[in-house]
C-alpha cells in the first residue's frame, strides 16, 4: 500500500521560512589592538570623575611653579 505524503504545502512553506537566514552585519578586526581601539572609542568617561576631580583639585594648594632658570639648569 502506498503511503500518502503528509508534507503539505503549508508545511513546506514553514520549512522554507525556517531556512531563511538573518542578515547580520559582521564586523571583523584584524588584530586584538584593533578590537580594543574600537572598544576604547565606544567608551565614555563617566562625567562624575570630572566633578570629583574639580572638587579635589580645588582643595589643593596651587602647584609650585618652576622658574625658567630651574627648568634650564636644574636645581
Amino acid at each position: 500500500m502506498k503511503q500518502e505524503s503528509n508534507f503539505s504545502s503549508d508545511e513546506q512553506h514553514r520549512h522554507d521560512g525556517a531556512q531563511e537566514t538573518h542578515q547580520q552585519a559582521a564586523r571583523e578586526f584584524a588584530t586584538a589592538e584593533e578590537l580594543l581601539r574600537f572598544d576604547a572609542a565606544q567608551t565614555v568617561v563617566p562625567p562624575p570623575i570630572a566633578e570629583r576631580l574639580k572638587q579635589s583639585a580645588a582643595q589643593l594648594a596651587p602647584p609650585p611653579r618652576r622658574t625658567w632658570w630651574k627648568n634650564l639648569f636644574g636645581r
Binding site: 547580520q24 589592538e33 584593533e34 580594543l36 567608551t43 576631580l53 596651587p62 602647584p63 609650585p64
Partner: protein, 186 residues
Amino acid sequence: MTDPVQGPELMEPPPGAWPGDEIARLYAEHSRAIFYLALRFLGDPQRAEDATHDVFLKAFRKIDQFRGESSPRTWLYRIAINHCQNLLQSWHQRHVVANSDDAIWDHAPARTDSPLRVLETKELGQRIQKTLDQLSPEYRLLLLLVADEQLSYDQIAVLVGQSTDAVRGKLHRARKTFAALFEQTA
C-alpha cells in the same frame, strides 16, 4: 557588570572652570585613554572611576615635576600604570586569584593572522573584558598600551621597563593568547 559604553559623549568642562588650567587640558585630552586603561586593566567600572580621579589628582600634585622629557600622555600612563598595578597587588594579597596559565594558550592553535569576527557589538565590551581578565596582567597591559595609536613600541618599552624587542615578542604571544580566548567567549 555594566560597561560604561555607548552613552552620551562627555562634555569636557572649559579649562577656566578648573583650579589649574594644566590639569583641565590634560584631562580633556587624555581622560578617555586613562579611564579606558583603568577600566580594562582593573575590570571594574567603579574602581576605574576612582583610579582615573586619583591618577589626575596625582598628576596635578606633581605637575611641577613634569619636565617635558616624555609626552604628557606617556607621563600620565606611567602614573596610571603604577596606580593600577598597586591596586591589583593589594587586591591579590587579599583575595586568592586563580591565574590563568598563558602558556596553555601560547600553544593553542590560534590563528593570529585571521580576523576576530564579531556579529554582535552590543555585548562586545563584556566579551573583551572576559578575555582580558583571563590574560596575565603583563599581557593585558601590553595589549592595552599598543591599542593606543599615540604610543610607539619604544614608548611602551620604556613604560613597562623592558626592551623594545622583548615587548614585540611578548605582544606577539599576547595577541595569540587573546585571539584564542576571545573565540571561546562567542
